[in-house]
Symmetry: C2
Subunit: 338 residues, 2 copies
C-alpha cells in the first residue's frame, strides 16, 4: 500500500495559529477491509470553519482531536475498493482530511459522493459546486429569500462562498454589493463575478467610514446581508439595513482568533425588525440536491467562474491555511496533492 | 364641551428625558362632527416604546410631533357619539393620547375597540389584555414557538409584557425564568406570577456575574429569550442559549437614552445557530384576536394577576413616565384620569 503523508494538529493555538500547531506525519495506508474504499486525494479544501475546530470550545462541531489528521473536504479518485458501487477510477468527493490518501471505513462510505468531471473541473466540487456553494445557496435562498430588485451585501465577496453568493443573487435579479480586501479583489468581484459594486474595506479605518462608502453604492438601503466576517464590516452594514431585512450569519472570521468583535448597535434589530439567522450548511442536507444542480449549471455554463488559489503538496497545507485566515488567498483556497 | 387637559412634547431630550420636555396644556374639546366620537379617558397607558418616539431618529415609528399631545393607548367611556355603532356608555380602548378627553375623528374610529369590563377590569385592556399582552404573545407563540419543557428567559419580567409572557409560557408547559430589578419584584415574579425562578440583575455588576446566576437556575441552558432590556442582561443570557435558540427582540430600554449597549459576542449567533427577530406588535394585526382571547381567559380566571402602578391625574403622567424608564414602576404603569 502507498505511503500516506498527513497533517496532524499537535497543539491548540492561543490567538493566531502558527505552523508549530501542525506536524507532517508519514504512515503506510492500511489494507482494505470488506466494505472499505481507498481514495487518492487530488485536492484538499481549506476553509475558515477549520479554525474554530482547532479550539477546545463549545461550538457547533466537536473540536479537532489532537495528534489526529486534520479534518477537511477532499476530492479524488478511487484506487482500490471493496465496496459495491465504488470502482477504481471513480471520482469522489468526501471528508478525507489533510492527507494524500484516505481509507474510507465501511460505515462512512455513505459520505462519499461520486462526481462527474467531464464538464465541471474536479476542484470545483470543493468550491462552487460543493460545501461553499451550498452554503451561499442556503443563506440566500432559505434565509435572505430575496425578491428581484432587492439590494444584498456579502462580505468576503471574492472568496468561495461570496463568489457563489453573487452568481446566485444575480440570477435572482438582485443588486449585489461585495465587501473585499484590496483593489485587485474588488476589481475581480465586479469585472469577473458580475457584482454591481464592491467596497475595499482596507481603505477604511472604522465602521463609520466603511458604512458611508457602502451607503454610496446602496442608495436604497440593504434588504439582505450575508455575513462571513463580522466585526467592523458587520457594524458598517447594519445601519444600512432596511425594515424587515435578513442577515444570514455564516462566518465571523474576524473573531476566530479571539479578537472581540462586538455588535455596536443591536437595537437596530428592533428598530428595523431585522431577522438574524446563524446556520451550518451540513445541518440542512435537504437543500443540497437543488443547490448543487443550480450551482453546477452556473459553473458548467461559465456564468460562475471561480478563482482558485492552489498550494502544491500536502506539506504546504498549514502555511496555505494561515494565509486563508489572513485573507492572502484569492478565491477558493485549495491544496493540490498530485 | 368639557375642558381637556393634555400633555405635549415641547422639546426632544438629549440623553435621559426630563420634566422640562413636557408641558400641560388646557383646551376645550371641540364639538363633534358627523362620524366622530368623544371619549372620556379613564386610564392612560405608559409604555417604554414612547421613549423612542421622543427622538427625531430613523425608527419604526414616526417621531412624536413637537407641541402636540403625546401619543398613547387609552381606555375610557363614550360620552358623546355621532358615529353609528358607538353609544354613550360604551367602554372603548383606543390610542387617545396623553389627555383627559379624546375626539376620535371619523377616519380613526376603526381604531376604537369596544370592550366588556364585566369580568375583566377596564385597566387590563391596556396591559395583559391589550398591546403589552399581545406583544408577549407574538414573541412567544410566533418567534420563540417553544415546546413543552423548553427553558425560556424574559427580561423586565415583572412588567406588563414580562408578566403576560410568563403566564402564556407556563400555559405551554415551559420552564420560565425572569430577570427583574430588586428583591420585591423577583419575589412577585415567582410567588404571584408563578415563574420558576427570577434573578435580580441589581445584585450583579457585570454580565459574567449575572450569567453565572442565570446558569444556576437554567442548568439545561435556554431555548428562548424574550428581550425587553438589552445591554448587560442580553450579554448575560446569550452565552446560555442552546443550539437553535430563538431570541424575540421586543425592546432595548437600556439603550433608549443613547447609552451604548453593544452585543459582546455576536459570534454566538453562528456557533449556536440562533435566530434573532425584532418585531413591533402593531405590524401583526392578524394575531390579535387569538392573543386577546387567550389573554382574556387567563385574566378572567385569575391565572394572570397583573400588578399595576397607578399615577393619579394627567398632570402626573410625565413624572410617572420617567419612573417607568428608570424601572421605578412595579408591573403595568398607568395614569388614572377620573
Amino acid at each position: 500500500m502507498p505511503l500516506n503523508r498527513q497533517i496532524h494538529l499537535i497543539s491548540r493555538p492561543s490567538g493566531p495559529p502558527g505552523l508549530d500547531n501542525f506536524s507532517l506525519v508519514s504512515t503506510p495506508t492500511t489494507d482494505l477491509e470488506e466494505g472499505e474504499v481507498l481514495v487518492r486525494h487530488h485536492y484538499l479544501s481549506l476553509d475558515p470553519y477549520m479554525r474554530g475546530r482547532m479550539n477546545d470550545a463549545k461550538s457547533y462541531a466537536q473540536p479537532q482531536a489532537l495528534n489526529q489528521t486534520m479534518l477537511g473536504g477532499t476530492v479524488g479518485e478511487v484506487i482500490a475498493s471493496r465496496k459495491p458501487g465504488f470502482a477504481v477510477g471513480d471520482k469522489v468527493v468526501g471528508m478525507g482530511g489533510w492527507q494524500e490518501y484516505g481509507v474510507v471505513p465501511a460505515a462512512m462510505t455513505g459520505m462519499l459522493r461520486k462526481v462527474d468531471d467531464s464538464s465541471i473541473p474536479l476542484s470545483a466540487y470543493l468550491g462552487a459546486v460543493g460545501m461553499p456553494g451550498v452554503t451561499a445557496y442556503y443563506g440566500l435562498a432559505h434565509i435572505i429569500a430575496p425578491k428581484a430588485g432587492d439590494t444584498l451585501v456579502v462580505s468576503a465577496a471574492s472568496g468561495a462562498v461570496g463568489s457563489a453568493f453573487g452568481a446566485l443573487a444575480k440570477a435572482r435579479g438582485c443588486q449585489v454589493v461585495g465587501v473585499a480586501g484590496g483593489a485587485d479583489k474588488c476589481a475581480y468581484v465586479v469585472n469577473e463575478l458580475g457584482f454591481d459594486a464592491c467596497v475595499d474595506y482596507k481603505q477604511h479605518l472604522d465602521a463609520a467610514s466603511l458604512s458611508a462608502a457602502l451607503q454610496a453604492v446602496c442608495p436604497q438601503g440593504v434588504e439582505g446581508y450575508f455575513e462571513n466576517v463580522g466585526g467592523m464590516v458587520m457594524n458598517a452594514v447594519l445601519p444600512l439595513m432596511n425594515a424587515f431585512g435578513r442577515v444570514a450569519v455564516c462566518g465571523m472570521i474576524a473573531g476566530y482568533n479571539g479578537t472581540p468583535i462586538p455588535m455596536a448597535a443591536p437595537q437596530l434589530i428592533l428598530m428595523q425588525r431585522l431577522r438574524f439567522q446563524g446556520f451550518i450548511v451540513s445541518e440542512h442536507p435537504q437543500v443540497w440536491p437543488a443547490a448543487l444542480a443550480e450551482l453546477g449549471a452556473l459553473v458548467a455554463s461559465g456564468t460562475l467562474r471561480v478563482r482558485e488559489t492552489i498550494a502544491q503538496g500536502i506539506e504546504s497545507a498549514p502555511q496555505a491555511f494561515l494565509g486563508l485566515l489572513g485573507g492572502r488567498n484569492f478565491g477558493k483556497q485549495l491544496v493540490k496533492l498530485i
